[in-house]
Amino acid sequence: MTGQAFFVLTALADGPRHGYGIVREVVELSQGRVKLKIGSLYGVLDRLSADGLIEPDHEEAHDGRLRRYYRLTAGGRRALAEEADLRAASAHVVRARLGLTGPEAAGAAG
């Protein structure tokens, strides 16, 4: 799973969002590191939709235009959880290699 797809799924984890809402949420979640352009966002949404990880939720009229909201599917929630575990495990290994885990590191940090 790409970093962009990971953040888009995470942005939808707490409820449905429309396209620009996802862009804003991803900026916040990534602390400004990931700023999705619209072309990139819909490339990711198209792929996630084709993989059955997200689906349209509902549409709302806003300033004469329809905003389409997307939500995670059950499969998307599962895939996101698995990816989060994978990334956490990788981070744990890296921290261990750097000596940043365990009581010694905690003591050193304290």
């Binding site: 790409t2 429309h18 396209g19 620009y20 072309g39 966002l41 819909y42 490339g43 235009r65 389409r68």
Partner: protein, 340 residues
């Protein structure tokens, strides 16, 4: 006139780069999301924004990237776009294979410089000739990286090679040693830069390359074509040997004839192979045309070049109906298809 368009219309014009099937599904949503990022809700401010602002370069580039991925489709793409994607990927591999064969020839010259092969003429020394050899070796690396699906390595290598090639051409032009600047620049643009840009077709959705046929094609082409030609040139019996463009025309014509025979016998695929050959024929034909003026002093050689072009055109014409079929054949799941 573009001056009369507002921001929404300008963005919709950019979105026309996307295939229609994709726009039918996503365009309205993309426009809404795009405008959400611009409009503030203040009528006066929004009016000015709509009238004078334009999609940023980053937004346009993101749409171009998406369009390239969709039009040069991979696994799961509609049949027509999948066929174009496969054909472009195969054609890029074909051009990279030709570059790699040339790189192997450079390796032979390098071996001569180390006195490993006594019967080859020694290569000239100096920075720029050495850079030329480095470019040759690098094409081999780029080709192999593409075949073994190391796309990032292949792209970085290809960009470096093209950069070095352009630098070398500029140096030759400034030094006044470039015999035919127009021919050289046309070659660089179409044979070097074009295929590197077309490497965009090797995206995440592209199915994996069939490694062994491509990997075996490299030594096969080198041993069966390049080595005999080199031997003929060194033995002084090269008058009958076509130049590189001519050899490419004849070799590709043979492949087209082979493909036509497969089509007639019903053993061809769904037209992707023929579409690939048409793309390669266009590139090779262009190569033959731009190199013809080199023979301006010899009408006989011009006639030979035109004959090579004619043979290629006739051979390519034989596979046109099958190539057209790739655009009209019934959709089929491409999930497990590989390049080939």
């Amino acid at each position: 006139m573009s001056g009369e368009l507002d921001l929404e219309q300008r963005y919709r014009r950019v979105l026309r780069l996307l295939p229609r099937y994709y726009r039918d599904q996503w365009e309205e949503d993309m426009v809404a999301a795009f405008l959400d990022g611009w409009l503030t809700g203040d009528p006066d401010e929004d009016s000015v924004t709509m009238e004078y602002d334009r999609p940023t370069r980053g937004e346009i580039v993101s749409v171009i990237g998406l369009a390239a991925r969709l039009r040069l489709g991979g696994t799961g793409a509609p049949r027509r776009y999948f066929a174009w994607g496969q054909a472009v990927r195969n054609a890029v591999l074909g051009v990279m294979l030709a570059h790699a064969v040339w790189g192997l020839s450079q390796l032979a010259l390098f071996a001569r410089s180390r006195h490993l092969i006594g019967w080859l003429p020694p290569p000239p020394g100096g920075f720029w000739p050495t850079l030329g050899y480095a470019i040759g070796y690098a094409w081999v690396v780029v080709f192999v990286a593409l075949v073994v699906v190391e796309y990032r390595t292949a792209r970085v290598g290809a960009v470096l090679v093209v950069g070095a090639t352009v630098a070398s051409v500029v140096h030759q032009q400034l030094a006044g040693t470039l015999a035919s600047p127009a021919v050289t620049w046309a070659y660089t643009a179409v044979i070097d830069v074009g295929p590197v840009l077309a490497m965009a077709a090797f995206h995440r959705d592209a199915p994996p390359v069939r490694r062994w046929p491509w990997l075996l094609a490299l030594p096969a082409w080198y041993l069966l074509v390049s080595v005999p030609v080199l031997a003929a040139e060194l033995s002084g019996h090269s008058a009958w040997v076509p130049d590189v463009a001519g050899r490419c025309c004849l070799l590709l014509s043979l492949v087209c004839l082979f493909q036509a025979a497969r089509v007639w016998s019903g053993r061809a695929g769904r037209g992707v192979g023929s579409l690939t050959l048409l793309l390669l024929a266009a590139v090779t034909g262009f190569y033959r045309v731009i190199t013809l003026p080199i023979f301006a002093h010899d009408p006989h050689l011009i006639m030979v070049g035109l004959a090579e072009l004619l043979i290629l055109a006739v051979a390519a014409a034989l596979v046109v109906p099958d190539a057209v079929r790739s655009q009209t054949a019934a959709p089929a799941s491409p999930a497990y298809q590989e390049l080939g």
